[in-house]
Amino acid sequence: MKQFPYAYLNIPEKCLIDKRVYKKLFFENAKLTVTDKKWFTKDIDTIHWAYSVKPSATLIPALKEKHYSYDEIAVIEVELKNDDHSKRLADIIHRAIPYPLLISFKGADWVRLSVADKRFNLADNQAATLDEYWVTDRLYADAANKVDDAFLKQMDYDRQPRLNVKRFYKGWIEAFISYNTALITGVYSLPDSQELKQKQVEALNKYRKLEQEITDLRTKLKKREAFNEQVKLNVDIKKLEKQLMQTAKQL
């Protein structure tokens, strides 16, 4: 497929599947709440299994580990009617399918991509446990944004390690982490050494944590009525904001 974003992804034609996936499958197999089902039905138009990056087509070997086996990577395309709950939908879909996934949420002239770090839930053979997952902002086909363009170029099939399926997928995850960092710094850069990559992840996590702390304090402040308590919270928030800026410099 040469349409956006597949031109960037550059996945070999041998991997093309292009089969319709019915929402019913999710209702039956995934644990959905009432709200989840509502959004799934209302927000999603259709779901397609676009590609399967697997050994027989790519010659990239599978990898079996104690808790998880990386047999293949599925690229799933989700056509959206409504973009309000995409993050939650990504969560549901990643959990429901026990393979590493690249989800492409499709809007009119944009997509959102999503990957996830997950483990097989040992207790429940069908479900996967999500450690962390990422969803990009809307990426526009004309990719005027420098960061988006750099990110999409990094997602190219040819740029990922070919040692095994797990390492390949990890390559995509690293591209996502650099994308998230770039959202803060404005510059897309992929650290080349393992050490720098680790530092980038740590700084990013610290940044997110500080952001969350600041949000929590803001909520607290709105609830408080006493002036003196509000002032104290303001001072604390400002201190954290300063730390946030310093962390951003590290990214």
Partner: protein
Amino acid sequence: MSDTIPPLTEKDGESKDLVAENVEKLKQLFPEIVTDGKVDFETLQEVLGEFKEESQERYSFTWNGKSKARKLAMTPSRGTLRPAPDESVNWDSTEHLFIEGDNLEVLKLLQRSYHGKVKMIYIDPPYNTGGDFIYRDDYKDNLKNYLRSTGQVDEEGKKLSSNPEYNGRYHTDWLNMMYPRLLLSRELLKDDGVIFISIDDNEVQNLKKLCDEVIGEDNFLNLISVKAKPSSGASGGGEDKRLKKNVEFLLCYTKDRNSFSKFNDVYEERNLFSFIEEYREEGKSWKYTRVLYSLGDKSYFTTVKDGSGNDIKIFKHEDVEFKTIKELADSDNITEEEAYIKYFDRVFRDTNAQSSIRQRVIEATDDKDTFYSIEYMPISGRNKGEITTLYYKGRNKDLIAWLSDVADKNNGELIKREKLGTLWDNFNWNNISKEGSIKYPNGKKPISFIRRMIELTSSESKDDIILDFFAGSGSTAHATIDLNEEDGGLRRSLSIQLPEIISKKDKKKYYSDEELKHIETVADVFKERLIRSFKKYERQGKNLGFKVFKLDSTNIKPWEPNYDNLQASIEAVIENSKPDRAESDVLYEILLKYGLDLALPIEVKEIGGSKVFVAGSGALFICLAPNIDLNVVEGIAKLKEELEPELTRVVFRDSGFKDDMVKTNAVQILKQHGIEDVRSI
């Protein structure tokens, strides 16, 4: 929001009204008893019916003057705290506070800002031994009394009113002094906060009763006995007839037993060898003298069950070797101490303590001189839930107890650790006069003593506020800083001390050196001591210091009409701050009124030609300058937008505007920039 600036009222010149708060609290609990802002005691009686104490005789603790003393605590203060940056150290960055003044008035002024914020209080009040200075509160106007009396003292150092034992109301006066101060300081404690009070046998009983009343009997934690330096100066007064006192007490309460979880684990540590020496000197037999040199060959023997049905695996050991420390020292050609260190992990003693496990081992094995080990999982005690190995030896299957269970090896030194109990007897009282490099005739407490209290109550975040309102020479502040240095904590000390004038006699004796000549009051000793102690500390940087504040009358002139010259009185009110007060004095009074921390970050900016204080990272703008024009107002609005605070309040002087038109427009301009909270003083 209104378009005018709400003016200051007389009530604003007062500190927190505790009585009104109590009524409010009652209203929340029993809405039916508060009608029209007044408490209906008959209805209250009905609500609490069966708890009413009916009889005339009752279990209560009372004394002459008690109600007056309580009332004194409830009367709001008409004072304020004036900043003294010139007498402070690192004014801009430190969060330690030192307040000079009568602690009663100061405690009132701190109510709004520090209510429920203090984690630990330590005080070393007068023990009421007969020669102490008992500061006499004046019920009519305590503040005036303070201002007047801190100037007066006689040659011999007999302060304004000492409390000699032959004073008929000897205990009463002491109680009237302590009662209101305890009432007020209790309000400042966090719910899980703890108060420690040093006292000796003169008043320990009354103090306990007082605390039971003020803090609540349920909240009593411990009465600790402290081995002190034997009391000196026992001439006359019948002291030679009695034994020399070498014990005093530390009374300890928490604010709310339900919120207080427990004391932190603190251990008394001493060098093991000096412990052993003392042990032997006391004629006791030190038993940890053998080493389990080799466990020999281990083989599985059998499995039995414990009381809960869980397995106890038993193993037999052949060719086990024991040696004494002495033997090993000789054969290795080292001293016994070195042998202890070398074989530390294997030093043991036997015990024949009875236990059900031991019983089962005895039953399962034999009564010959053999050696067995067991593996099991205890369901209680120190090793609960973990697989534990125990060893049994000899015909009686005595349990092996390891030295390493009661001692530690730390940096090559062997330390005996004991969990702290209620006898504190290993402080060194002999060198305290040297502590802080300055002498203090009224008795210092060793900082290790106070440090222990802080360790017992320290929160995990190590950022507690520690209050001492009988600060003396500053041992509590010193101890706080000392502990911060060691564990990287950010604890804040809050010290209050009356600037008692030091007698000529003491001044000549202790403070006649060139560097000490400036010392006139006890407060001066505090400051000098801390400054000298700072030299030792490196980690704390700009946090090391103290901000000095002084108790004084309110900056805001109360309405005190002079009916003979009403015109002048009215004009005086228009200019409503006292003329000799600086803007920074008024600034801090405003901070106290708003219940803000005295160490709040404050920046001084010049905006439109006028001085503006920016407090709390942009949450509060205070401009006390005269002749403010719209440039200043615009400037403030602009600065607010740069700083982006979560909330903003702006305070002006009522008479500070250039003219009425500016005043009206000011409110509008600020409103346009999202600032609705505008006040005037």
